[in-house]
């Protein structure tokens, strides 16, 4: 796997991401109830929990797909809790989706190119009149996208439709599309869901290579062994509340965590 990702990752010094008392109710049900945590030095922080614990809601709140009822999210010294999704992306927070949400009418390369959308700023008029500035930007975006595809070995399938790709490659493409936004914090929503063992290995290689260049990752996952092998810190949710937050070894032995996953029995 290619390690040249410095271009994708923007700045790692003074990283600070803080969630303060985040809450969200849906028709009376507290999906997220007063969650707080801070990411400063860790490279990979994972969020796990049984089904319905609120993991996807949390990512939706942090990425801007949903707005919270109360609470703050601090990034780059600003409270982004009520920012629309696209504004958060320009600050460096990006996410992937559990169901990939690829652009199915476009090719693999075009998906990667849309990811690099923020690398240009020419508007409708520039595009329509095909100004030189727009042409230059287009060439730049194309080369960046191609470079990103090479990271996951999909450059040969660049002109195929995404619907022809197997699941593993689609998931990788989702990550690579997100990389085009030059994120500082990448939030992954259940990326290994449905993947075969060898695909999980490929995915892990990609993540590790990205981490080499200073990218921070917030990983929401179901696959606990995968999480254990890659995280510096694990946050456990249950019924919308944080029930554990610490190093993998500590969390693994936390009785409340065990109870949440396995029910009340002697293990």
């Amino acid at each position: 796997m290619n390690m040249e990702n410095a271009d994708n990752i923007a700045g790692t010094a003074n990283f600070e991401f803080e969630v303060v008392n985040l809450s969200k109710c849906f028709s009376g049900i507290r999906a997220i109830d007063g969650i707080s945590f801070k990411i400063k030095h860790e490279q990979v922080v994972s969020v796990i929990g049984p089904n319905g614990a609120g993991k996807t809601t949390l990512i939706n709140l942090l990425s801007g797909a949903l707005l919270p009822d109360s609470g703050k999210v601090f990034f780059s010294q600003r409270n982004v809790a009520r920012f629309p999704a696209h504004k958060r992306v320009s600050l460096g927070i990006c996410r992937t989706f559990q169901l990939e949400e690829l652009f199915t009418s476009m090719t693999v390369l075009e998906n990667a190119m849309v990811g690099c959308h923020l690398s240009g700023n020419s508007g409708i008029l520039s595009a329509g009149f095909h100004f030189k500035k727009e042409r230059k930007e287009e060439a730049l975006i194309k080369s960046k996208a191609f470079h990103n595809l090479k990271l996951i070995g999909l450059e040969e399938k660049a002109f195929q439709r995404v619907s022809n790709l197997p699941l593993g490659e689609r998931k990788l493409l989702g990550v690579v599309r997100a990389l085009g936004t030059r994120p500082r914090l990448l939030m992954l929503d259940e990326p290994t869901g449905g993947l075969a063992a060898y695909e999980v290995v490929k995915f892990k290689e990609l993540i590790l290579s990205l981490l080499q260049n200073g990218l921070r990752i917030l990983l929401v996952e179901h696959n606990v062994p995968f999480v254990m092998s890659i995280s510096q810190r694990i946050i456990v949710l249950n019924y919308g509340r944080k029930i554990a937050d610490g190093a993998p070894g500590v969390v693994k032995n936390n009785p409340e965590v065990i109870r949440a996953y396995l029910g009340d029995s002697d293990w």
């Binding site: 707005l67 703050k72 409270n79 809790a81 009520r82």
Partner: protein, 295 residues
């Protein structure tokens, strides 16, 4: 006319047209809820009800017979619409159905235009009685009849949907289509039934309103739109649709009476647009922006 009698007059005429809007709205709702099809030909069923009745009455049939035949023919047209146009589209989106029913409405309208011409037509009211004078307002018995029919239709639907097996199955499949199919309910036959029902009810509405406001080949478009507005504002449910239909009718009646008649259609459509837009705003979020300072 005194203010009271004016108000009464406009209210009655408003409620009369409101009753028709309510019935047309129910036609829209039933089809949409069961099959997800936005049937823009609903207004044409209303038009056919009136026009066919006029045609059969002109050809010598008694009023009752003509009306009955007209309603049956319109049912048939609705069923043909479902079989020939809706069913063949396998993976239809709401938009595709919308376009296809707009096109079908066009075809129906064109056929009527060619066979019956452009003049407005009239049929005789059901009761030969003269208009009644109440507090200075002139009330046609036909108007009361229309409102009565609405009441009967509502009662009939209520009993049907809540107390018959078929009706309950219909409600079930509108709530959860897959679930209903798993229980052996033939949902596509339901769709056929709903189209036929919409055709019949629409035609009925057309028959009863024509003695008051006449009919012509082109009333279908506006009737469709009014019914759609009423369904949307009423949240597609039957109760809501009836209420918003009557409300719209009243509002139009007062505006037409006290202000002017030309802008009537524009008013109701404008209201629908405003309603749709206002619905998309998250008021709690707006409240929050004004009250909480999140610095």
């Amino acid at each position: 006319m005194t203010l009271v009698s004016q108000t009464l007059q406009y209210a009655i005429s408003g409620l009369t047209s409101g009753s028709i809007y309510a019935i047309v709205g129910i036609c829209w709702s039933i089809v949409f809820l069961i099959s997800g099809v936005l049937n823009f030909a609903t207004g044409e069923f209303v038009m056919l009800g009136g026009m066919l009745t006029w045609y059969f009455a002109k050809s010598g049939l008694g009023l009752g017979m003509a009306a009955g035949l007209a309603i049956m023919c319109t049912c048939l047209v609705a069923i043909l619409l479902e079989r020939l146009v809706i069913s063949p589209i396998k993976h239809g989106t709401e938009m595709m159905f919308m376009l296809v029913t707009i096109a079908s409405a066009s075809v129906i309208r064109g056929l009527v235009l060619i066979s019956c011409g452009t003049e407005t037509r009239a049929i005789k009211p059901i009761f030969e009685a003269k208009s009644v004078n109440v507090m200075g307002a002139t009330i046609m018995p036909q108007a009361i009849f229309v409102m009565g029919v609405l009441g009967v239709v509502m009662l009939g639907l209520y009993i049907f949907l809540n107390y018959t097996l078929f009706g309950k199955a219909l409600r079930a499949s509108s709530i959860n289509r897959t679930g209903a199919e798993l229980f052996g309910i033939n949902v596509s036959r339901f769709r056929l039934f709903c189209f036929g029902l919409a055709g019949g009810m629409g035609a009925l509405a057309g028959v009863i309103i024509t003695p008051i406001s006449f009919t012509g080949y082109n009333i279908g478009l506006v009737a469709s739109l009014k019914g759609l507005v009423v369904s949307i504002v009423g949240g597609w449910g039957i109760g809501g649709t009836v209420l918003s239909g009557l409300a719209l009718g009243l509002l139009e009646g007062f505006v037409a009476g006290f202000v002017s008649t030309g802008w009537g259609d524009a008013l109701s459509l404008g209201l629908m647009v405003v309603f749709l837009i206002v619905r998309t705003f998250d008021f709690k979020e707006i409240q929050r922006r004004f009250l909480i300072d999140d610095r």
